[in-house]
Amino acid sequence: MTDPVVVVDAVRHVFPGPHVALDNLSATIRPGVITGLVGPDGAGKTTLIRLIAGLLRPEQGRIVVLGHDMAISAAAAHRAIGYMPQRFGLYEDLSVAENLDLFADLHAMTAALRAERIARLLQFTGLRSFTKRLAGQLSGGMKQKLGLACALLARPRLLLLDEPSVGVDPASRRELWAIVSAMLEEGQADDMAVLWATAYLDEAGRCDDVLLLHEGQLLAHGPPEAFLEPTRGRVFRLGIAPEQRRKAARQAAADPAVLDALVAGDALRIVLREGAGVPDAEVLGGVSLEPLAPRFEDGFVALLAPPSPPDPLPRGEGELVGGVGSEDAITVADLVRRFGTFTAVDRVSFNVRRGEIFGLLGPNGAGKSTIFRMLCGLLRPSGGQARVAGADLLRAPAEARARIGYMAQRFSLYAQLSVLENLRFFARVYGLDRVAGARAIDAALTGFDLADIASGIAGDLPLGLKQRLALAAALLHGPDILFLDEPTSGIDPLTRREFWSRIGRLADEGVTILVTSHFMDEAEYCDRLGIVNQGRLAAVDTPAALRARVRTDALPDPTLEDAFIALVSAQ
């Protein structure tokens, strides 16, 4: 067994704020395997990778890479490190070939070596016919592959990848993984070590070694199997009546014996608390109960969950209407949007009924946000029509817009104002007078658990709280229709579940919700889904039906991701 490539020794790093990014972290990273770095946004993954890359110096502790202390002799280590930052790190004005050339120059590679290596990587990444194209014009997946190629160019001993597959289409995601594995195999003699940061738990499950970070702490470090073991025997499949999935999930989650209840297809996936007895299916509101083999995500949730069950969410003000209404809240007909010669949205049509949760599912750049913007009246369609609550929001009077709530992909509230100031602003802007406004703000503060941080500056909040605030602001004026653009990207699984709980309840109260996401598995919470790829709507159906469409003997229990890949390639 060779020496570890990276040794992290009691590292602590604090950002001005003060914000503790990493606390007393110690770990080693071995060559020849893919080590996964897992955790939600704000856990400290990027900070750790930057520390290892020598871009930051730790407050306390040491980091040694290939025998070099990064605080002292980082430059020596840089020759052997390949680094791919979260946002590609590519020069968009330069072509594929020019980007590769630049990195070759930086590593002082001779002409012969360069030619051979570039050819190899181009072939591996499938970019050989794109050498002259500007990097800015590549698709998201191709950009990531190019970034990977640049990082691998000089045969690094340490490959650092910061969320290389985030938001990329599922096919490319798998290809990225394949490339790295192949490089690892090929470079056996070189003993390359790979650190792959990700928020995708399925990827984490495929790594040889996993570092689990949460709020700056290293919760666990070991092979994926080690994570699964504790939950073995505690995972079950709860069959339920198909129409009541969300309600059932809420009910099950409220049960003291249950640690986690997740909508999975036509059933719920239940993880029981440690030491809890196995209850009856009926107690949990279900029909049947079967044991299941544990998954990485189960182990992850078990580690993160608080020891005692949290208080149940406070009841909302609205009455539970239950079920989906019959009339259409949103209608989209042949919607088209072109940017110059590029068609971002190509004749998309679908309807959303009142009280329904409708998801638009697809990778980054598929056109989801563009569709959204046209629906909200932020963008003029090049063709077709979009009506929300019977009105065209682009031309609608202000009153029509008061009936919708919007939560943008990036935090779009005022970072320099406090939580309370933000809420007050939006209450006033949506026409709530002093009395109604105060009531709504109070409800928001309690309902979203923001009362303790009401005077905190919005920009300083961790991501999960920011999302909560954004959602609270979007709901202040009691809209009928809610637009949520990638509301859960970067959030840890627990917060994500809580979020979907709230959304589910809102839907049951009659609010129509339109969501976009690139997390395929989250889409299970939706009543119906639209699969979007490259501006076209590949399919519209319930999650169960979509999965059923691609079921084959070879693939008896497909996930939504499988469904996506199959449906898109059939397009």
């Binding site: 110096r57 980082a74 330069l94 590593h107």
Partner: protein, 370 residues
């Protein structure tokens, strides 16, 4: 090899990014043309109302002499009241009043000299003095002409001749335009580097560069050299415009010009880097840039206002405005030639400025992200 690769990247960037080209070439054109034509201290056609209560012949003679001056545009006013109204409304800048006792006094030598009154709008004191000066000399010319006609020109007089060196036509453009070039260089230099740095941060490429074997010095150098090239191009364009469009002569040598502009560019580019590295907040950066480039370059560099006429404490302050050194060199190079006695000390000042900003940048731009 690293440096070469980085330079190639920078050059490609510039070629494909319109904003750099705009800053380096379009902005100088716009600034030179507006400032060059807009700022002129060459008085011409200053509007003068004239009220004459004198016999027609005298009046006509005087009006003709005044109007003959290219610097004055004469309108006859019927009364002092009319003239005053015109002045208040801003239609004329001055009013010349010739009373009815003027003619008699002129033809006879009396105890009281023949006087005319000039009322001038002195809001702009400089132009007021200029107007006074031109009116006075126009009147003297008329007087001398009259006396010569009557053969009454006294021999006993003093004839003062003027020789205006370096700028015989007394065109203000000749000294203002070189100053404008300095202002353009300041703004272009600062803006070129500032916009490049923030773009790298936004795109995330700064991170990968910092993690690569590239050294900080190489990164800064590559950026500086490319922008330097652009700056030199900008300067050549400016000099071209100055000589071709504004007819400003260039009597100096290119060596001195190259040395001065190179040092100044180093200073300006360094300043741009420094500002953008230091302030992530764009509003603060904007104010800082304005504060340190445009207004000081216009007001304190000697481009427009003579430094030696400023109060002493302010003259000391101008030592810290590097544009001052460039303006001095440029004005000399354009109009006088290679006067090394003036050029060398100013070059030294520029060198100091360049060293200060560049080392400040290196100190502030650490290799790490924190």
């Amino acid at each position: 090899m690293r440096l070469r690769g980085l330079m190639r990247k920078e050059i490609r960037h510039v070629l494909r990014d319109p904003s750099a080209i705009l800053i380096a070439f379009l902005m100088p054109i716009v600034l030179l043309l507006t400032n060059g034509f807009g700022i002129s201290l060459d008085a011409s056609e200053m509007k003068l109302a004239v009220v004459i209560a004198a016999p027609e012949e005298t009046a006509r003679g005087m009006l003709q002499a005044l109007d003959a001056s290219p610097y004055l545009a004469v309108q006859r006013a019927l009364s002092t009241h009319d003239g005053e109204q015109a002045m208040i409304a801003g239609r004329v800048r001055g009013m010349l009043v010739v009373r009815d006792d003027f003619s008699p006094r002129l033809s006879r030598v009396t105890r009281w000299p023949a006087a005319v009154q000039l009322v001038v709008n002195a809001t702009d004191p400089n132009t007021a003095r200029v107007m006074e000066s031109y009116v006075s000399s126009a009147l003297q010319v008329w007087r001398t002409g009259q006396l010569t006609e009557k053969r009454a020109l006294p021999n006993a007089r003093i004839d003062l001749q003027y020789r205006d060196w370096f700028n015989p036509e007394l065109r203000s453009a000749d000294f203002i335009v070189p100053g404008i070039i300095a202002m353009v260089m300041t703004m272009a230099g600062t803006l070129l580097t500032a916009s490049g740095v923030s773009r790298e941060w936004e795109q995330g490429t700064m991170e990968s560069m910092l993690a690569s074997p590239a050294r900080m010095v190489e990164l800064i150098l590559a950026r500086l050299l490319t922008n330097f090239g652009l700056g030199i191009g900008s300067m050549l364009l400016s000099v071209l415009i100055a000589t071709v469009v504004f007819d400003v002569p260039f009597r100096g040598g290119f060596l001195a010009l190259a040395a001065a502009v190179s040092l100044f560019l180093m200073f300006a580019l360094g300043l741009g880097l420094f500002i953008s590295t230091l302030s992530r907040n764009q509003f603060v950066a904007g104010q800082l840039s304005f504060l340190t480039t445009m207004m000081p370059a216009m007001m304190l560099s000697g481009m427009l206002f003579d430094i030696s006429a400023m109060p002493h404490w302010l003259q000391v302050v101008t030592f810290f405005v590097p544009a001052r050194y460039l303006v001095s060199i440029l004005q000399t190079l354009f109009l006088a030639g290679d006067v090394w006695g003036v050029i060398i000390p100013n070059l030294a000042g520029l060198a100091v400025a360049a060293v200060v900003t560049l080392s400040a940048t290196v100190l502030v731009t650490r290799r790490r992200l924190d």
